[in-house]
Symmetry: C2
Subunit: 347 residues, 2 copies
């Protein structure tokens, strides 16, 4: 396309040196008022902006951040991505988007590419599937961090001083189960999950802990995080009951799984919440529109994401090693668990 006007063009037309132009533009050093005006006029005339690739080279700051998530289409990550991008923009940075599917590890090639781009930092989010890829993921993050600031969202536990914001995944289960408990449920099953072997700060962990406190044996666990998988989960759960009484309440890994469960339950004639209670997770936009509207948990991703992003850009001057913060979910009560008489909202 057309040639870009450079700082030389501006300098020539304004009758000054390029150093002076640079000074009036970046505004750091003193320039005589009259000179500044003259330069500014030419700058305005040509709508000149210094090439960010050139400034990137000389300043060693690209004003570009990376976002690494499994898949934008997952509404959980959509939310995160919206908040991250908007916050980055507010802080004068652009965001490069990368999707690396869950369970896929960060290849050396991928990381080299990030490094070659000289990003000012990177946000990494995405659970890990099993111990092998978990270790690989952590290894990858550590390697990346050696080259650029990194903050992780939703790491399971503090490790190697990686700056990290942890969503209260285990708390989700705890909150949900306590809620169900108050409504009189004891036979509670967890459906869906990511099938990881290491359980620290996962919904699985919270479920197991809370059931133990309750003195109830946990139900067999199933794997899945999408709506179709949610359907399969209830089928599979029901098939694995082996004589044990059917649960009176289901806790879904997320709202997607809950949606699938809802459909499958309906299909086989189990009513929600009359026959079985159901609680979702993530408070997705569609949760209020399920039938019945889903009781769910809000993980405050937007807030967390914003914080992660501002932390990341501050990391360019401050040291974030070992930074760590936990976020607690809040319960959103709708109708999928039924109500005690005095809890029922005014109709």
């Amino acid at each position: 396309m057309s040639e870009h006007t450079t700082i030389f063009d501006i300098a020539r037309e304004a009758g000054v040196s390029i150093a002076t132009v640079s000074r009036v533009i970046s505004g750091g050093a003193p320039v005589r008022a009259e000179t500044r005006e003259r330069v500014l006029a030419v700058v305005a005339k040509y709508n000149f902006r210094p090439s960010l690739v050139a400034t990137g080279l000389s300043r060693k700051k690209t004003h570009t951040l990376g976002i690494i998530i499994p898949l934008i289409e997952n509404p959980f990550y959509s939310k995160m991505c919206v908040a991250l991008q908007l916050e980055a923009e507010r802080l004068n940075h652009s965001t490069l988007l990368f999707q690396v599917p869950r369970g896929t590890m960060l290849t050396q090639d991928f990381m080299d590419q990030l490094i070659a781009r000289r990003l000012d930092g990177v946000i990494f989010s995405g659970d890990v599937t099993d111990d092998a890829s978990s270790d690989a993921a952590v290894e990858g993050m550590l390697q990346l961090r050696r080259q650029m600031p990194l903050v992780a969202i939703n790491l399971r536990e503090a490790c190697h001083g990686l700056p990290c914001l942890m969503l209260g995944l285990a708390s989700c289960s705890a909150l949900a189960i306590r809620h169900l408990r108050k409504l009189g449920h004891r036979r509670i099953a967890l459906i869906g999950g990511v099938g990881s072997a290491q359980l620290t700060n996962t919904r699985e962990q919270g479920y197991l802990d809370e059931m133990e406190k309750l003195g109830e044996a946990p139900y067999p666990m199933t794997v899945g995080e999408s709506a179709p998988e949610g359907e399969a989960c209830v089928t599979s759960l029901l098939a694995q009951l082996g004589g044990r009484a059917r649960p009176t309440a289901l806790m879904a890994f997320n709202d997607l799984v809950a949606l699938g469960a809802l459909r499958q339950l309906k299909r086989i004639g189990i009513r929600v919440p009359e026959d079985i209670a159901l609680v979702g997770c993530d408070n997705q936009f569609f949760a209020p529109y399920a039938d019945p509207p889903l009781t769910t948990l809000d993980l405050h991703i937007e807030e967390t994401s914003r914080l992660a992003m501002s932390l990341l850009v501050s990391a360019q001057t401050a040291n974030l090693d070992g930074f760590e913060q936990h976020f607690e979910p809040t319960l959103i009560v709708r109708e999928s668990c039924g109500f005690l008489l005095n809890d029922r909202p005014p109709a």
Copy 2:
């Protein structure tokens, strides 16, 4: 962070000049086999990759593309974004994500920023709200195109030779209405929309045209594109009937609006599909999980997005002026419109 190894380091250690290193890396020019091996060994040893900001400067190609959409959280754009990013990656490019809310025009500042980043191209998608911002958007795209390749997804009509992929938005309405017609409906209303004054290739246009062919007066139109707005739309539609018989079928602007409508209809005791048929649009992931599952239209966004992206990168060598392609939606029949007796799928 740690200093990066540069081409100088490699050259020194391999005992050659930087030009030679560059040649073995980019592989264009002939290098003696033995020299190549020696350089490659050092490159491997340090895991060297040329800085993309430096190559960007000297080659005038950043291998970076921009994606401009209104809001990732909207599942329509999520889908698009997934496909765009993945395809770009496949073609060895990274994607910068920008969200500019619908109705907000591209500010000069924003565009200058894109230009300053020396992007290799940009994908623009996002309907426009009214004529003023539509003109502004077109103006913006034209200005951008003067500086870098651009392809638009879902422009309403060919204009000024902007390369453009058009989703068959009007066809959606036509397809939906013809389907409803076959099921015996004539009193059909459109709910939701973007409230634009210029109707070319919009669902509104298709609706109006098709109703005219049908010899039916169109129902008043409402505005909205989210689920909560969908609820409001049915309320507002019902309030504006003014004595006219209630429609027997509703066509929603998209699945989100349909979801909202479903909820509101249920609330006021109108059953779907028994009392009123409903068709959505976009075939979102949640459409099969609505109750009843939504009959909807698939716009083939993934395919379109992939094409848009590959077009964009090819645009760096080819001329795309005036390129234009239309995509036709396909109807996805589920249960929200009911069935003629012989159409009912096997239970």
